[in-house]
Symmetry: D2
Subunit: 361 residues, 4 copies
C-alpha cells in the first residue's frame, strides 16, 4: 500500500467501500488559513453518487467532518483529519461475486497481491477511495486560489467516440461545466453524450471517456526536476485514479506530427513577465511551469462492472458466466471531473510549497 | 530538485551536460548479485550520441565506472555509485544563447525557478541527465531478468505522422529493434521514418514521435495502490523524461471508444495461473500487474532546439531572432528507446522489492 | 509538520488535545492478520490519564475504533484508521494562558513557528498526541509477537535521583511492571519513587525520570545502515516523544569508561546461532540487530507545567507571574512506559518489513 | 540500505573503505551560493586519518572534487556530487579476518543481514563512510553561516573516565578546540586525555569518550513536530554515526534529578525577541528551536578493533583467539569532532529549508 501523496503537502487517504468511514489526513497545510467544512463539502457533493439518473444510486450524503488541525475555523499547521462516514456498510459474503473475479476489475490482482480482499464493492479499488483525495484537494485549491488566484476547471471532452470541440481554456468555468449532468460545457455535445450514456445503460453496458482540465494563473517555477517535474507528478496523480489509461499534456499525442518550427512556443513580452504566443507546451517547459495555462487530458476506460453476461472463469479456473447485479455508473467521467480537479490541486499545492523554499530570504 | 526515484530501489542521479561527470547512486540493490561494468555498458552505448548520421555528433564514449557497492564482481547491498566522465566539458558564456531563452526549452523556466542556470547545453534538462537513469536501469533489468525472466523491449512506433503497424508484442526483440538506426522493427516503416528524419534535418527542423514498450514475464502482484499503482509510477517515470508529452497503457486513449463488454478482458485458465484472453488492460488491473504483458506508449514532442530562425524575445523582452548553432538530434525517439526501457525497469524493480515484503514467511 | 513515521510500516498520527478526536492511519500493515479493537485497547488503557492519584485526572475513556483496513476481524493490507474521540473538547480562549507562554513548554515555539497555536492544552505538543502512536504500536507489537515472538517490556528505572537497581532483562514482564502504579518492578524502589512523586505533587512541583526498555527475541539483521541504523531510528523515535532529553543503548554513557577489551562482547556458540557472552552492545552491532536483547534508556525531564508560581514574561515581554491552573501529572514516566514500548514496536516493525525484502527468493 | 538523509536538503552517501571512492550527492542545495572545493576541504582535513601519533596511520589525502551542481563557482540548485578517491584500495581476502567476526564489530551482523560483506576494513561500517557526511555538512554549514550566522562547534569533553569541566558555550571556538590534538579545549584535561589515549594505545587497547557540541545563532522555529522534532533528528543523526551509544540534549540525563521549578527556563525579554534566563532546554522546546544555544552530547564506545588477544569463536562457532593486525585509532573522539559538527549542520540545514516554506508570502 502506498496511500500517501506529496512531499510537503502530504495527503494520506484511508477507507474501503464498505468499512466505517473513508477520509484523509492532510499534513503540512499552511497555518492560519480559514477552513471550515463548508469549504470542502461542495467538491465532495459534486463527486458523490446519486446526482442523476445516469449515476449509481448508492445513497450516500458524503458529509465531511473536520476532526483535527483547525480551531475557531483556522488551520493550526497540524495534521487535518477529514472523515466521511459510510452510511452503506455491508461487508458480507457476496456468494457468486467472491468466487468469480470480475473481468478487468481489481478482484483478481488484489487477491493475488494480498492473499485477501474486501468481500464486496472493490475495497480500496472502489471509487469511494477518491473521497479523501477530493476533500484534501478542496483545501489545496482554497490555498492556491487565495495565494495565487489559481483556477482549476475540468470537464468531459469525450464520451465513447463523441469528442466535443475545443473549449476556450481561458474562460471555461465550473458553472458552465455543471450546466449539463454529463459535465460537458458544449450544449449540443453534452446532449449527444447524455444520449450515448443512456443507450449503454439500457444495454447494460458501459463506455469510456476523456476528462480535460485547465489550471490558470499558476505561478512560474513549479515543478522539481528531474523526477518530480510538474507533468510527471500530474501523470502519476491522474494514472493513480481508478479506471484511467492515459494522460497527455499540452499538444500531447497530437503534437507528435508537428515540426519543431510549428510546435515551439515563441516568447513574447506580456504584462510583467515573458509569456508565449502559442501554448503547445501546455504551460510546462523543462518540467517547470511557465505561467501559461496548464492543460491536460485523462483517458478513462469503459467501466468494468457491467450487467451484460460475460464468459469468464472463477478463481478455480472453471468456466462460468458473470452478470453483475445492481446498478453501476455506466460512464465514470462526469463524476471524475471534481476528482481530476482535486488531484491537480494536490500536485500544484505540493510543488508550490516546495518552490516557496526558494523565495529570496 | 528531486533527483531520487524509488522507495526500496532508490536511484539518485546527478550531473549537467557540461560538468565533470554524470551518473547515479543506486541504493537498495539486493546483495550478492554479480555485477560488472560490462553489464551496464551496452544500454549506455545504445543511448549515447553519435551512433548515426541522424543523431547529434557530440563525441562521448560514455564509459561507465563502478565506484562503490561491489567487490570481486558482486554487489554488497550497499550504495552503488556509477560515474561517466563528461569528455565534452565546456561551461562557458554562450553569448547570444545566454541572452535569449530558447523557445519551448527549459532556459526560461530554470532561470525563473532557480535564479541561475547552467550557461550552456541545458544543464539538468539536457538529455545527458538520462545517463544515470540508463546505468541504474541496467542493474534493475539484470535483477528482474535473473529473478523472474522479465524482458523489456521498446521501439519507435511513430515518427511525425508515420505510424508503424502493430508489432507482435510477445516476440519483438531488441535485436530486431536495433536492425534499423531509427529503431522501428518494421523494415518498410523504418525506412520511411528514416527518410522523414533526414528531411527535417535537411530543413533544419525537427519532428516528434512515439516510443512503445512491452514488459514480458512480470509477476502478478506488482503495484502499490493507491498512489503508487503500477501505471501511476510508469506514467511518472515516463513523463519525467525530457521532451515527453503523453503516456498511455493498454488500450489507452484508443480504448475509450470501446464498450465495457468489448474492452473487458475475460479470465481464462493458463498454465499455472489465471490469465486473460484479451489484454486491453495492458497487464495492469486495479493498479497491480496481472502477469499479462505490460505495454504502453510514450509521446515525444519535436525537439525544441532547431536551426531554423525563430522570432522570439530575449530575457529583457526585446524582440529578436534565434538560430540555434551546431547540430542537434532532429528526432529523439531512436535514442529514447533504451531510456524508456530503463525507466520501466526502475519502476518494476522498485515495485518487485516492495511486493517481496509480502511473500509468505 | 512531520506526522508520518516509517518507510514500509507507515504511521501518520493526527489530533490535538482539544479537537474532535486523535488517532492514526497505519499504512503498510501486512494483510490477513487478525485484528480487532480488543488487540489495541489494552496499551491505550495503560496510557490513559486518571489511572491513579498521581496522574492527571482528565477524564478520558480513550476507547479506540477501527474505521478502515479490516473486515471480519482481519487486516486487508489497506490503510487502517484508528480513532479515539476526545471527550474533553474545550477549545476556548484561556485568558492568562494565552498571553503568557509557559516556561519550558511549547507555547512560545509553536507560536513563533506557525504564527498561531491551539488555544489550550498544548495542541500537538500535548501528551494526547501519543494516542495514535500507542494504537499503531499495538498492531506492530502483535505482528512482531506472532511472527518472531518479540517481547517488549519497559519500566521506570529512575524518578528524580532515585535510581532502582538493575532488573533481570531476560525476565522482566509487564505484569511485574504494572504491579506498582509507578511502574517500577522493584517493590522497595517503587515505594520510594511513589513517595517522591507524592511529595513533588504536594509541593505543586514536578520531577523527571528514566524509562528503561528491553526488546527480546528480535531476529538478527534489523537496521538499515547508514542513516536508519536500528539505534538511530530508536533514538529518533524516543526523542520525538514529549519531554524527552536523552537516549542511550546498551552500555550507553556508562560504557565510555570501559576499555575496548572489557567492553567488547565475545562471540560464543548459542543454540542455532552465534551469540555473545556479554551484551554491552545492547543487541546492536554496526546498526544491525544481532539477536541478543536490545535494551535502552530514555530520559524524561521534569514536567514543565507546575502549580508553583514562576517569574517570567508574557508574549509582549512584560514581566509577570504564572501559576498553572488545574492538576497535571507531576511525573510523566509511569504513563510513558507503554508509549516507549509502542515506539520501539514501530521501529522494529518497520525494519523487520524492510529486511523481509532480503529473504532468499 | 538507507543512505539518504533529509527531506529538502537531501544527502546520499556512498562508498566502502576499500572501493574506488567515497562521497555524496547533495540534492536540494539552494542555488546561486558560491561554492568551491576549498569551502569543503578544511572539515575533511580535520576528519582524515594520520593527523597525529594517536590516530590510524592510514595514508589518505582525502582530496575532494566537485563533479556536478556548480558552474563558475556557484551552485545551480542541481545535485552536487562530491567525490574522494580511495588511495588505499585493497579489497582482498583477509584470511583469518574473514573467518572470525570481530567482537562488537559489524562483521557478523552485515554477514547475516546481507549474506555477503566487504572482505576487509569494515565496508560501510568503516569510518570512511563518514567522508560523504562531512563533505555535505560543509556545504550546509556554509549556507547556515551566510544566512543566519550559525556557528557549530564540537569538542571532546570526556575520554574514558576523564571528564573535562564545562566550557563557556557562548565562546568556545574551533581554534581553541584544535589547539590540542585530542580536541579538548581545556589544556590540563587535554593533556590528561592525551596521556590516557597513549596509555591504552601502548596496551593495545582502546577507550571511549564524549563529544559535546553547541550550535549558536540558530533561528527560532526549526523542527517539525512530531516525528522530526529538532532533537529527534539530531538524535537520529548522531546515533547513525559509527560507535555511538548515546545522545542527550540540554540538561539531558543529568536534568532528571531537578524539580520542574528548577529546570524550567523562565522567559525574559532579550534584544529583539523573547529569550530564556537559563537554558536547561538546550535551545529546544516542544521539538522546535527557541533561538537559545542548542547543545548536546554524543557518547562513543571504546573502539572495537584492538590488538589485545580476544577469546571468541569463528563463523562456524569454533573457539579461537583474535588479535587485530595493524594499527587503529585507540579512541575515535578527536576525529569524531568534525563529523558531529557536520551531522548537526545537515539536520539544521534541512529543518531551516523546511521552515522557509512558512515565511510570510
Amino acid at each position: 500500500m502506498s496511500s500517501t501523496f506529496g512531499t510537503l503537502f502530504r495527503v494520506t487517504t484511508f477507507g474501503e467501500s464498505h468499512c466505517k468511514g473513508v477520509g484523509v489526513v492532510v499534513d503540512g497545510c499552511p497555518p492560519a488559513m480559514t477552513l471550515i467544512e463548508a469549504d470542502i463539502q461542495p467538491q465532495l457533493s459534486r463527486r458523490r453518487p446519486g446526482q442523476s439518473d445516469i449515476s449509481t444510486p448508492r445513497s450516500e450524503a458524503d458529509q465531511v467532518t473536520i476532526y483535527s488541525g483547525t480551531e475557531f475555523g483556522k488551520t493550526l499547521g497540524t495534521p487535518i483529519m477529514l472523515l466521511v462516514h459510510n452510511r452503506d456498510q455491508r461487508p458480507q459474503d457476496y456468494g457468486e461475486m467472491s468466487r468469480i473475479p470480475r473481468p478487468s476489475h481489481a478482484d483478481y490482482t488484489y487477491q493475488m497481491k494480498y492473499g485477501i480482499r474486501a468481500s464486496s464493492g472493490g475495497g480500496r479499488s472502489s471509487a469511494r477511495e477518491t473521497i479523501g483525495r477530493v476533500a484534501a484537494g478542496a483545501i489545496a485549491e482554497k490555498w492556491l486560489k487565495e495565494n495565487f488566484g489559481v483556477e482549476i476547471v475540468a470537464w468531459v471532452s469525450q464520451v465513447g467516440d463523441i469528442a466535443a470541440p475545443a473549449v476556450d481554456m481561458g474562460l471555461v468555468s465550473r458553472a458552465e461545466v455543471d450546466r449539463h449532468i454529463i459535465r460537458c460545457p458544449h450544449a449540443d455535445f453534452a446532449a449527444r453524450m447524455q444520449e450515448r450514456v443512456e443507450e449503454v445503460l439500457a444495454a447494460k453496458d458501459s463506455t469510456g471517456g476523456i476528462v480535460s482540465c485547465v489550471c490558470r494563473n499558476v505561478p512560474v517555477g513549479l515543478g522539481e526536476p528531474v523526477f518530480d517535474k510538474l507533468e510527471a507528478r500530474l501523470a502519476q496523480a491522474m494514472l493513480s485514479l481508478p479506471a484511467t489509461k492515459g494522460f497527455d499534456i499540452g499538444s500531447g499525442f497530437a503534437g507528435i506530427s508537428l515540426r519543431g518550427s510549428e510546435h515551439n512556443d515563441p516568447f513574447i513580452q506580456k504584462d510583467q513577465r515573458l509569456g508565449t504566443s502559442s501554448n503547445h507546451s501546455g504551460g510546462v517547459q523543462g518540467g517547470i511551469s511557465n505561467a501559461e495555462d496548464i492543460y491536460f487530458r485523462v483517458a478513462f476506460k469503459p467501466v468494468a462492472t457491467i450487467g451484460l453476461a460475460q464468459e469468464t472463469v472463477d478463481f478455480e479456473g472453471k468456466p462460468t458466466t458473470l452478470e453483475a447485479k445492481g446498478r453501476h455508473d455506466p460512464c465514470v467521467v462526469p463524476r471524475a471531473v471534481p476528482i481530476v480537479e482535486s488531484m491537480a490541486a494536490l500536485v500544484l499545492m505540493d510543488l508550490a510549497l516546495r518552490q516557496a523554499v526558494r523565495r529570496p530570504g
